[in-house]
């Protein structure tokens, strides 16, 4: 597919190395010569941003782990000691805690981009499913990390979320006791959460490798959703994509730094600066903002088991998108109806997020239920039916044509833009 120059070692050492471990040619073909569609827009930079965020979280997390103590009597104060006594400990901790939020900002944009441009469709199903697995791993890792400071919200979030498993008939209670390592959330729970919170990021890193591998097998999707046909449709990953990614990582870091240095506690909850107290329930238990849409779905359903099933389904259903969407056209650019339903879907998810932060009473519950219905109807009814009834717009014949003629398909009337030989 590439047709680009392959790596040819020049120095004697690299020639010697190439015959034994061809790591240089692997890097060369994966991150330098790798052909990327020339028409990728800035929404495609969030994959690189996510890789950057994973590294940020692992590096700050490893250093924080050198100073943190996973014990119910010491955890809160060890975090405060990081904030007060460790050199730049406040910076490490604020990068790490806000980094979790920005990791989720990036992943939500990344997922939304995939949904908009149909990146989940054939032949990218496995790539997409690996992405859903990565998102699930992030959710679990983020949750366990939130428990570690052992503040009031840490403790009660751990209690609420682990209690969800008690909804499972027959074995639920046993599972919860097993998860806790006791008969209540306590020291064994904190200890294992710490262990897993340290482990899972490396599992994520492993799945990221698979995700990138799958990506390089099938190639990137692009805003037209039309596969690259000739070499003119692609440019080399380096320097073209690298330069674009670097610029957006820079912009992303500006927003990230705004939160770290100026409003580091904006996304947190004040109650988490109160040490965990099993004897006192906070008036209003809320998860971190990035779980709020799913929390609203959970609370909207007046049966605990069904609520838990809906919560799990709301994430897992993403994995079935490649088969639920029956349309042959990938990009929402050429799917006027899908585009509208998708924007409503995005609004519904944001709306669920707001409702998840509010007290579950009166109109809020009714709204959460309506939004939940739309959430699932989007996947189970709208996606399959749209493919049958939607009249899509004509697709360009190739990426180059879309770039050269500003998206006008061959056969459409009108002259090409001035100065361009058609």
């Amino acid at each position: 597919m590439s047709g680009h120059a392959t790596y040819e070692p020049r120095s004697p050492f690299m020639k010697w190395m190439e015959r034994r471990l061809p790591i240089a040619s692997l890097v060369y073909s994966s991150f330098i010569a790798y052909p990327t569609p020339r028409n990728l827009n800035y929404w495609w930079t969030f994959g690189g941003i996510l890789a950057f965020m994973l590294i940020v979280q692992i590096v700050t997390g490893v250093v924080l782990a050198m100073h943190y103590t996973p014990n119910v009597n010491l955890a809160f104060n060890s975090v405060e000691s990081i904030m007060r006594d460790v050199d730049y400990g406040w910076l490490l901790r604020y990068i790490h805690s806000n980094g979790a939020s920005f990791f989720f900002v990036a992943v939500y944009i990344h997922i939304a981009r995939g949904m908009y441009y149909g990146s989940y469709k054939e032949p990218r199903e496995v790539l997409w499913i690996l992405g859903v697995i990565l998102f699930l791993l992030m959710v679990v890792t983020g949750f366990m990390g939130y428990v570690l400071p052992w503040g009031q919200m840490s403790f009660w979030a751990a209690t609420v979320i682990t209690n969800l498993f008690s909804a499972i008939p027959a074995v639920g209670g046993g599972i919860v006791t097993w998860l806790w390592g006791g008969y209540a959330v306590g020291n064994p729970t904190l200890n294992r959460f710490y262990s897993l919170h340290y482990l899972l990021p490396f599992v994520i890193a492993g799945v990221v490798v698979l995700h990138i591998w799958a990506l390089h097998m099938v190639g990137q999707n692009n805003p037209t959703g039309v596969e690259p046909k000739t070499e003119k449709d692609t440019v080399a990953f380096t320097p073209y994509a690298t330069a674009k990614d670097a610029f957006f990582v820079g912009l992303f870091c500006i927003v990230f730094a705004w939160f770290i240095f100026y409003i580091p506690n904006y996304l947190g909850h004040t109650d988490n600066y109160i040490p965990a107290n099993p004897g006192q329930t906070p008036t209003h238990i809320v998860p971190e903002w990035y779980y709020l849409p799913f929390y609203a779905i959970l609370r909207g359903i007046p049966n605990k088991l069904l609520g838990v099933i809906a919560l799990a389904s709301s994430i897992l259903i993403l994995a079935f998108m490649p088969w639920l969407d029956t349309s042959a056209v990938r990009s929402a650019k050429y799917r006027p109806l899908y585009r509208q339903f998708l924007f409503i879907f995005f609004a519904v998810v944001i709306g669920l997020g707001y409702l998840g932060s509010q007290e579950p009473a009166g109109g809020y519950v009714i709204a959460a239920r309506l939004f939940t219905v739309y959430y699932f109807a989007f996947f189970l009814i709208i996606l399959p039916l749209l493919g049958l009834f939607e009249r899509t717009k004509p697709l360009p014949n190739s990426i180059s044509e879309s770039v050269l003629r500003k998206g006008a398909p061959i056969g459409a009337s009108g002259p090409p833009p001035a100065g361009v030989k058609a």
């Binding site: 405060e80 870091c253 600066y273 605990k304």
Partner: protein, 293 residues
Amino acid sequence: MTSHRELMTALVLAAAVAGTAIPARAQEAEAPPLQQWSFAGPFGQYDPEQLQRGFKIYREVCSTCHSLKLLSFRNLSDPGGPGFTAAQAAAIAATFQVTDGPNDQGQMFQRPGKISDYFPPPFANDQTARAALGGGLPPDMSTLAKARGYDRGFPWFIFDAFTQYQEGGPDYIHAILNGYADPPKDFALPPGTHYNKYFPGHAIAMPKPINDGQVKFTDGTPETVDQYGRDVAAFLMWASEPKLDERKRLGFQVMIYLIVLSGLLYFTKKKIWHEVELHPELEEPRAPTEYGR
């Protein structure tokens, strides 16, 4: 479905989910009036004189009941704090009695504080505090200013991200000290509590802690509850977030760096993509090794 039933369903569900009963929302409290803080905004820094006044109030009033366990006397001379010298901090430490031990005879003993000691708590343990104070437990003040706040509500919480409003804790603490009032006629105040306009539920266990003129200032600062509230709230903010000065100073440098870097990256990107965008039909794929030849 009636709204009453909806409410009940929601409450039952919330209780089931939490595995514990969540009390119905306490009566809505007034939003605290916003104060001017020297440490607000991108260039905000603590005012050492205000922190010293706040420390005086903590020491003479709050410390009777509230501990400050995470702070050490040495912190009083840390940069970005109240600005005491190390000698002054040691002198302050020496005025406190600290429990140390066990000594060679196996006994705990009292001695004057050293600069490396932490602020000694007013009560030996929570139970002693509750027994002495009629059941209420005064919270530790080390992280209090970050552990308190109030619901800003839509749309203010969105604006706050842009205006950098992070002073909900100090505003709330100032409001509580100024919020004591006679309860409205129809308000049933539980015994042992006091009416406060800004406290969620209005019934606060802490009696009005401070009155005009109670703490003497030597620099002519007004000796009013309003001023006391601001000063002690600023001190408690410093106690919760002692590295704020450093954070905002470093933040400005990082911002400048990132903006310049992003600008350079933008022009780099523009240069690299220039030919592709200008002559898309002429551009042949080239191996990066060919650049500059």
